[in-house]
Symmetry: C2
Subunit: 281 residues, 2 copies
C-alpha cells in the first residue's frame, strides 16, 4: 500500500519504520528538509518532501504533527487529495479534531496510539513502538466502514490493541488517566515549593524521596504539552478536576474530623481500585 | 558500645546488621520469640529477648517499633533503665513522640532515618540500608548535648546524612514530601475509579499508562500506614492539604477561564521547582 506520514517525529518516524518493514511504500512529509533527510537516512520513509502535494497518490495518510497543527494541516492537505484517500491522525485529543475534519472529509477516522518514550523527534524513532500498546480509533456514524477497515488493517500489523469509542469517550478517559494526573501532580509541586518557612522548605527538598519523585513526575514535565492537553481537552479535564476536588475534600474532611476508621476504609478502596488501572509487572 | 534495639523489622534489623559490623554489641527485643530467633540467625543482633528488662545494661536504645507503639513502649522501657541510658526512636512523625517522652526521660532524642525498601519485617533487613540516606534528629532545648553526641556518633558510622531540626519542622517537611503525596494520589485513584459511565471507566482502565501508574503509586499503598501518617501528623498534614487545595483551585481557575498563557507559566514554574526536590540519576 502507498502510505503517507505527515510529521516525522517520534510517532511518525516509528510508524514509518514499522510500515516499511511490512512492505508498504511510505512517503513522509516534514516542514524541515533536514528532518526529511534524517528520516530517509534512518529508513523511516522511502522518500520524503516538505510539500503536502507529494501525497497525491497515497491511499492512506497518517497525520502525526503536534496536536495544534492537525486541523490546519488537514485543511491544506485535502486540497491535494482525491476523495477516496483515507486520512487518520494520532492526536491525543479527539473531539475537536473529529468535529472539525469530519464535515470536510468523509474518509476520515480519528486515532490515538498510546505509545511513546521520554524522547522526541525523528532521532528517537524506534521499531515496534506500538506493539502491545493501546491504539484508540474513534469512527463516527458517518465514517465509511471501508475507511475504518483500511486503517484497522494497518494498525493490526503494528500489533497494537485496538479500542473503539466515541471521540468524547476517548477524551474523558484520557482526561482521567493522563491529563488529570498532570494537574494533580503540578499542584503538588506548586504547593510544596511555596512553603514560606525557608528551613522547612530546605528540609523538605532534602528529605524528598521516591514517593514525592513518582507523584510529582508528570507535573514537572513539558509545560507546552501540559498547556496543550488542557487547551484542547478543557471540557473533559474540567469535569475530571471538579470530581477530583470533591474526592480530595472528602479526604480533607475525614482528616479534619479525625475519622480514622473511614479514612482507612477510603485508602483500602484506593488500594483495591488501583490494580484495575495499573498492571504491575 | 552496648546498644539495644526494640522492634526487629526492616529498620531495626538493618540497623542491627550495621551496628554489629562496627563492633557494637547489640541486644534485640521483639514481641515474638520467632522474630528473636530469626534476628539472631541472620546476624542482626548478638542476642534477643521478648523482655524489655533485658536492656538494663545498654548505653543506647533505638526504638524501632511501629509508630503507634513507640510511646507505650518507651513508657514501659524506662521503668527498667538507669537515668543515664540514651533513648532514641525512628518514628516517621516527631512532635507527639517528643512531646510525650521528653518530660519523662531527659536523655531522649527523636530521630527519623529516611530509608526503606518495599519489603517489611526481619527477613527484609539488609546491610547498608542507611548509607547516603537522610537521618533527621530533633533535639530540643532540654536534650543534653552528651545524648545528642552519643546518637550522632553512631549514626555517622551508618554513613547517613544527618539533618537537625525542631520536631514541628520535621513534621511539616515530611507532610509536604511524604504524607501529602499519599492523599493527593489516593484522591486521584478515588476520582478516576468512580467514573459512572461504564464504557469510559473501562477505557480509562485499559489506557492507563506510566503517568497514571507513577502518580497513583503511593495512593494505592498500605492503608494502615496512610491512616497512621494522617492520625499522628494530622495538624501538619491538614495545613499541607489546605495549601494544596489552594494551588489546585488556581489551576482549575486558569483552565476554567481558558487562561492558557498563565497556565503554561504555572507549569513552567513547577518544571523548574521539581529538581530542587528530586535529583534524578
Amino acid at each position: 500500500m502507498n502510505i503517507g506520514i505527515i510529521g516525522l517525529g517520534l510517532i511518525g518516524g516509528s510508524l514509518g519504520l514499522d510500515l516499511r518493514s511490512h512492505g508498504h511504500h511510505v512517503i513522509g512529509v516534514s516542514r524541515r528538509q533536514s528532518t526529511c533527510e534524517t528520516a530517509m537516512k534512518r529508513g523511516c520513509v522511502d522518500c520524503a518532501s516538505t510539500h503536502l502535494s507529494s501525497l497525491t497518490t497515497v491511499e492512506v495518510v497518517f497525520v502525526c504533527t503536534p496536536l495544534g497543527l492537525i486541523i490546519p494541516t488537514v485543511t491544506e492537505l485535502i486540497t491535494f487529495l482525491p476523495k477516496t484517500t483515507v486520512i487518520t491522525d494520532v492526536g491525543s485529543v479527539k473531539t475537536p479534531i473529529v468535529q472539525a475534519i469530519t464535515p470536510h472529509w468523509q474518509n476520515f477516522i480519528g486515532g490515538h496510539p498510546m505509545a511513546g518514550t521520554a524522547e522526541t523527534g525523528i532521532d528517537a524513532a524506534i521499531p515496534a513502538l506500538f506493539v502491545n500498546r493501546p491504539y484508540v480509533l474513534t469512527p463516527t456514524s458517518t465514517t465509511p466502514e471501508s475507511a475504518t477497515a483500511t486503517v484497522v488493517g494497518i494498525i493490526q500489523q503494528l500489533k497494537s490493541h485496538i479500542y473503539y469509542c466515541q471521540p468524547q469517550e476517548h477524551d474523558q478517559a484520557v482526561s482521567w488517566i493522563s491529563h488529570l494526573p498532570v494537574m494533580v501532580s503540578a499542584a503538588l509541586i506548586s504547593a510544596c515549593s511555596q512553603e514560606r518557612d525557608r528551613h522547612i522548605l530546605n528540609l523538605a527538598q532534602n528529605l524528598a524521596s521516591t514517593g514525592f519523585r513518582d507523584t510529582s513526575r508528570v507535573g514537572g514535565g513539558n509545560p507546552e504539552l501540559g498547556r496543550m492537553m488542557a487547551e484542547h481537552n478543557h471540557e473533559a479535564l474540567l469535569n475530571s478536576l471538579h470530581q477530583y476536588r470533591h474526592h480530595l475534600d472528602e479526604l480533607i474532611n475525614l482528616i479534619d474530623t479525625k475519622n480514622w476508621q473511614k479514612l482507612q476504609q477510603k485508602l483500602q478502596s484506593t488500594q483495591q481500585e488501583r490494580p484495575h488501572f495499573v498492571k504491575e509487572k
